[in-house]
Symmetry: C2
Subunit: 445 residues, 2 copies
């Protein structure tokens, strides 16, 4: 169950919400009727992969096979093709999951940069371990992933021979076309689908996120069921649902002159959920010279880093706190110390998680007193079902918020600009025009 609270957002009042009524109703209509901007990318709304689908059964069977025949899964993908899976795995299994010998395969994310150093490190970690690869790309020609995959394919074929390599490479790609699909067919890779109506940043609950998560030992049934439950709640409650409140609040903050939304968690394992959130909202709303700049922090760590700014710096931001309801049963207890040199005996017997909750509450009020508004998204906590609910909450909030902002929340035209220049500089066929101009500009940078 996901809830939304904004009582401590002092700059906001109920009239602010009322003033968005018209836009909100329009946004709600677009979402329900699928007739807004970018409506052909609303496939995620109805979760085209569900626990009873054929595709999902194959995903689970494939994950089971990889868990049996591999010690390492390399996930090759960039943007939405890696952030969601990495976020889910790190939150539910900890960022240390590759080092803790839990019996689950290690999962590494590569092909999301041009760092040769990173690829070398990960290959070094594969030594002596059985490796499978999940290459994730709609087209198969996204340069970062394609470069890494070319190198990794050569590695796999050298190591296993072409035939066994083909059994150890799984392609998640377009159902009908593209370079990766062609290669997969030629080589006989098992394939999963990136649906045409689901953009990268909304794809974590498709094969894109589910296969790596299942390999890592995540309960993907629960993840999907949580999302389905959240979906139903939103459709039931409509514009009174917490997700709509949050979507409107973001736009209220923008209208009050805020330019940055800081996503806050008190759990370091949530860090990559923050990265996922930044893509989801940044790419959906950062267009037409609009949008809140999305940032993320881990408290209380970053209270000793960005906390000063939040408390007393330029008043350009508000905070959205993701608050997990449940504490960890294994949370260490502060021991009693006869000598009490550090003066901590007043909290001896408390768990670290209990202290963490007090830190959250105290900080919320301190920031409020400093003039910085915070709102709270309550969710169940560190289990797959609750995370599924939270993910769907953010999906829907992003759609509604983007519609209220009057942008197309589902395109990303600005991502092409750097690619075009890069291709020209790299000499890609078809991108010759303007090369001289570009080179002369570069000479004077």
């Amino acid at each position: 169950m996901v809830n939304f609270r904004y009582k401590q957002a002092q700059s906001v009042n109920e009239n602010d919400f009322t003033s968005f009524d018209t836009l909100l109703k329009k946004a709600d209509g677009y979402f329900r009727e699928k007739n807004g901007l970018g409506n052909d990318f609303l496939g995620w709304r109805d979760l085209n992969v569900r626990v009873d689908s054929e595709e999902y059964k194959r995903i689970k069977a494939c994950a089971k096979r990889i868990r049996e025949n591999s010690d390492v899964l390399l996930v090759v993908g960039i943007g939405g093709s890696y952030l969601g899976a990495r976020a889910v795995i790190e939150y539910l299994k900890t960022p240390y999951h590759n080092q803790l010998k839990t019996g689950d395969p290690e999962v590494y994310f590569v092909g999301n940069s041009f760092s040769g150093n990173e690829l070398n490190s990960v290959l070094a970690l594969c030594e002596g371990k059985r490796v499978s690869i999940n290459v994730i790309s709609k087209s198969g020609t996204t340069t970062e992933s394609a470069v890494a995959f070319r190198i990794l394919r050569e590695y796999m074929e050298k190591r296993y021979g072409r035939e066994e390599a083909a059994l150890r490479i799984i392609a998640t790609t377009d159902a009908n076309r593209g370079a990766l699909l062609s290669l997969a067919k030629q080589e006989g890779y098992e394939c999963f689908v990136i649906p045409d109506d689901v953009g990268g940043r909304f794809s974590v609950l498709t094969a894109v996120g589910l296969l790596p998560a299942a390999v890592a030992g995540i309960d993907t049934d629960a993840l999907l069921n949580g999302a389905v439950a959240q979906r139903e709640k939103i459709f039931e409650s409509g514009i009174n649902s917490p997700v709509y409140k949050y979507a409107v609040l973001r736009n209220i903050m923008l209208s009050h002159g805020k330019s940055v939304e800081v996503l806050v968690s008190y759990d370091p394992d949530f860090r990559f959920m923050g990265e996922w959130f930044k893509q989801l909202f940044g790419e959906s709303e950062g267009k037409d010279k609009k949008g809140l700049f999305p940032a993320s922090v881990t408290y209380s760590s970053d209270l000793h880093s960005l906390g000063q700014f939040v408390q007393d710096g330029s008043p350009i931001l508000f905070q959205t706190i993701c608050r997990a309801a449940t504490n960890d049963a294994d949370s260490p207890v502060v021991p009693f110390d006869e000598e009490n040199g550090d003066g901590l005996n007043f909290i001896s017997g408390m768990t670290m998680d209990e202290i963490n909750e007090k830190a959250m509450l105290g900080t919320l009020l301190a920031h409020r007193d400093g003039g910085t508004d915070s709102v709270i998204i309550d969710f169940g906590g560190k289990d797959a079902y609750s995370l599924g609910e939270l993910i769907y909450f953010f999906f829907a909030a992003c759609a509604i918020s983007g519609y209220i902002l009057e942008v197309n929340p589902f395109d990303q035209p600005g991502v092409e600009a750097y690619k075009k220049n890069m291709f020209t500089l790299l000499g890609k066929p078809g991108y010759e025009s303007g090369k001289d101009e570009l080179l002369s500009e570069i000479a004077s940078i």
Copy 2:
């Protein structure tokens, strides 16, 4: 050698620089004469730990001993007591250094949050390995670190007995006072000094950062020598030095209405340098309702995340690109593929680092065309000397920039507010007042 270029910052012209002349000269005076706000925290300016100091010799000897008798070093500290060391180690040794069996001890950073889960994970990773601890705290009572250290001290004494535990615990703390110093004296821990005139975020080149870095196998001589060289260059060149240009440019951007500075690297290993940067500038300038909100990204990864926003979103930001001059000799080469299904043969034979450079150049121009300004900080690259230069560059830039902004760059009064509330909620003796009010406020959150 660190350089600064701003030719592609189209919104900036030379008159903008001139308009800051008076403030700049004032700032320069404060820096040289040590007579500005917070001048008693300028200890880092002259690098009170140098390669020829007694303290530094002891740091190296201690690191050597830990490298011989330990497989793992746990660094207990928060904020400036961990960000710098972690940043240096991850950049120079990769974020995978704890997993790659290089022969260097593993180094984990704990006590920087109240996450019991994280502490449990790290303790699980210590199983069967020889452990030492470096606890870093000026007072010894910073709650996050003190809680973790209480738990870890118990762990060490149970595992090694009190006597050997004392040989395996090293305290970096105040020279003359505080709970940690008292305990260290009582138990006989070796101690290193956090100087009185160096704040946490400026402490990476003291024992705070140097001991963990040296244990991880970093060439700390080179790190310090790079910083010393950069220091000398700044004092030689004065207000014509790149560091002053960058400091002024940040204030120009603020005066042009920008509210966010995005630190950009094209190397995923630089990520924690971004975190370190965020504390350095956020805590130094985020006060009196002023300051640029510091963010950081790793490209080209995040071009598929925040790239859309930077290209075409709300025009509230500018970018500072940290560009490493040298490429990695081991950067993988894109193999040739007869079939060329992915269409990448136009870059076959190129290294990933070479492609990365073209991505950087193409992106810079694409963002400029979208109306987003970028400036470039060139530095030597992935070696300790060059990183030392870069660190000192940022230190000095932060001081000058903060003076131009007319704040005290060296205090952090806003960090206390959350602690006060937290202590009241936790029932810390001396913090009783206002508890009822706080509790009633919390009840209505």
